[in-house]
């Protein structure tokens, strides 16, 4: 289907299913129950899942295929956001031109940064991209205030021209972003028994774009161009002595991943029309690196999983405070309750970074291929278990595999 082989088609269908049924999958607990705070199916967070998924998919095209570790990808995200907000200010509240402009501007920006940074490889490349991103951040924060509105961040106002739309609604408010009339914030809530599921127009727009972005990356991975990028990662020397200049290939990969970041930035602004400089900060660049490595760099679905994983932690774990912990452990005697709360406290709430850090270390140490490798090992284990049942116990021909993790 669509020029994909059977395995890739299955993968694409899985991604489509996950994206389409996310409102159900992410809300497994009845609202109002004690577990409801683990529900992630509210529009704001679901949008963030897919937007950062797009960001990480794009980053993976550069890092996973060519091995060039960019530490400044958030710059493109920020540039995309600013472009989109300017489109809302000047043209109309339709998200399509905003997203397109975000991609174009981010693409142009990445031509510039990529052309300079790709003169070096390895750690020097990373440092150059980091320097560029920090430069962009600081410029957006100070000198470029007329364009970026500095510390406050770029926002919509009532006296923006919006030549194709209206400056203000009839009620005198700022109009909302829409896709040919469908408002991005429109949400339909479906109540089934104790459960409630939110279907948000903005989320579905992001999800469809994410599926499309995933499909493009799938095609890039399987194409001759993708083979060239993997050859760049594997051995640039040999590529040079085979009569091929690796530079244009890496630059093309850099621009593509920059445009993915711009797309993510544009979508972010479309969901919530404001843009601030902190979107370009190095922590944001580092986050996408974490997402990609955590999910599995160089794998197709890894970055999406990693993005979901980190965003879930950021939004769900950070909300567990001491009160919630006391509720959970209320059935225990007082002394034990306090001790347990004391022990768990550093890992939740504001300490969610600690949990994430530990998980990240565990994954990198024991599963260098990320969450995807974890999944593969699990499925191999299960499959072997099934085969064992069929063949009956035969210890001689099924030697125990050396454990990868010390048990």
């Amino acid at each position: 289907m669509l020029g994909l082989d059977k395995k890739d088609t299955t993968l694409l269908l899985v991604v489509i299913a996950l994206a389409m049924f996310a409102p159900f999958l992410l809300n497994p607990f009845p609202s109002g129950s004690a577990m409801a705070q683990f529900n992630a199916g509210y529009p704001d967070l679901m949008q963030r899942f897919v937007i950062f998924g797009i960001f990480a998919i794009g980053f993976n095209i550069l890092f996973g295929l060519t091995g060039y570790l960019s530490f400044g990808h958030a710059a493109f995200l920020g540039v995309g956001s600013y472009s989109a907000v300017w489109m809302f200010k000047l043209l109309s509240m339709n998200v399509v031109p905003a997203i397109l402009l975000a991609m174009v501007i981010a693409g142009l920006f990445s031509v510039l940064i990529g052309f300079v940074s790709l003169r070096r490889s390895g750690i020097y490349f990373s440092i150059l991209t980091l320097a560029f991103a920090q430069m962009s951040f600081n410029l957006a924060y100070s000198v470029l205030t007329p364009i970026t509105n500095g510390e406050t961040g770029l926002q919509l106002t009532l006296d923006d021209p919006r030549v194709l739309g209206q400056s203000a609604t009839d009620q005198g408010g700022i109009p909302v972003t829409n896709f040919f009339g469908i408002e991005m914030r429109a949400t339909h809530t479906l109540d089934v028994g104790a459960w409630s599921f939110d279907f948000n127009a903005g989320y579905y727009l992001c999800a469809i774009i994410m599926i499309f972005a995933f499909y493009i990356s799938l095609r890039i991975f399987r194409s001759p161009f993708g083979l060239m990028l993997r050859a760049v990662k594997s051995n640039q020397q040999r590529l040079n002595y085979t009569g091929l200049n690796p530079k244009p290939y890496t630059l093309a990969a850099f621009i593509i991943s920059g445009m993915y970041a711009g797309l993510a930035g544009g979508l972010m602004a479309s969901m919530d029309p404001l843009a601030g400089a902190e979107r370009m900060q190095w922590t944001a660049s580092g986050e996408v690196v974490l997402m990609t490595i955590l999910g599995g760099a160089g794998t197709l679905i890894g970055p999406v999983l990693g993005a979901g994983f980190i965003k879930y932690f950021e939004n769900i774990f950070s909300k567990i405070n001491d009160n919630v912990l006391h509720q959970w452990f209320a059935f225990l005697p007082d002394g034990m309750e306090d001790t347990l709360v004391f022990l768990v406290h550093p890992f939740v709430g504001k300490g969610w970074h600690l949990t994430l850090g530990i998980l990240f270390m565990l994954v990198v140490t024991f599963l260098p291929g990320g969450l995807v490798e974890g999944g593969q090992r699990l499925s191999r284990l299960l499959r072997r278990g099934r085969k064992d049942e069929d063949a009956g116990p035969d210890p001689e021909h099924h030697p125990k595999e050396t454990p990868h993790v010390a048990e």
Partner: protein, 251 residues
């Protein structure tokens, strides 16, 4: 006038004179061997030919055109392929993918988003790549990861990749180093067949005299960065200067 002309090449690394006034002329469709003790400057000379190093003085020209100042990929496009002393292959890719890249790298070097667009018939190229793997006796390893190959196989793969490009000049840097005798003989047979069956000039650096004397039409002996003698193999064998350079015997 040979296909490869090296004139008055000097190369200095700090205080070390790696190459001193090297002149070399390789005639078309011959096998030219360069021998010499360790540190004689053989590999430095080769690096000057493929654009990895630029000589301090002197000129290097291939087919009448200077190669100096050109990048390695441009020099490759002129028709020079090189097999390295330690195999340089795409370790993360399969053997077949390794073969596909040189097979499709047409000699004009321009960038193509669809990297194989320049090729008129993809199927022909795939058949050619497979045939070349049969020639080097690696057809059963076609789907293996190149990094998992044995050292000898990596070397053979690299040679197959270079040959697939149909170069006019093939540079071999110790192609049989570390190989078992049987593998060495296979390599000799392969190279003999190549030189008889197509228009190709081969320049080979080798320590194994068995290989050198079975293949070479002409031999240059380098010592301490300068050519000592250049002659036909049977004259080199008994040359007292060569014996001295290699073994330190008094002439």
């Amino acid at each position: 006038m040979g296909i490869l002309e090296v004139k008055g090449v000097n190369k200095r690394f700090g205080g070390l004179q790696a190459l001193g006034d090297v002149n070399l002329s390789v005639a078309e469709n011959t096998v030219h061997a360069i021998i010499g003790p360790n540190g004689a400057g053989k590999s430095t000379l080769l690096n000057c030919l493929v654009g990895k190093l630029i000589p301090d003085t002197g000129s290097v020209s291939f087919d009448g055109k200077s190669v100096l100042g050109r990048t390695p990929f441009e020099i490759n496009q002129m028709g020079i392929s090189r097999v390295f002393q330690t195999p340089e292959i795409f370790g993360d890719l399969t053997v077949f993918e390794n073969m596909v890249i040189p097979a499709f790298a047409r000699r004009d070097g321009s960038f193509r988003m669809h990297a194989f667009e320049s090729v008129s018939n993809e199927k022909d190229i795939c058949i050619k790549a497979e045939q070349m793997l049969v020639d080097v006796n690696m057809q059963d390893k076609i789907h293996m990861h190149a990094a998992a190959l044995s050292r000898g196989d990596k070397r053979r793969l690299e040679m197959a990749m270079c040959l697939l490009q149909e170069p006019r000049l093939l540079l071999l840097d110790e192609p049989t180093a570390g190989m078992a005798r049987a593998d060495t003989n296979n390599t000799i047979d392969l190279l003999k067949e190549i030189k008889d069956s197509r228009d190709i000039t081969i320049c080979i650096i080798e320590h194994d005299m068995h290989v050198v004397f079975s293949l070479a039409d002409r031999i240059t002996v380098l010592a301490q960065g300068s050519p000592l003698v250049e002659d036909e193999p049977h004259n080199i064998r008994g040359n007292p200067k060569v014996r001295e350079a290699y073994l330190g015997e008094a002439a």
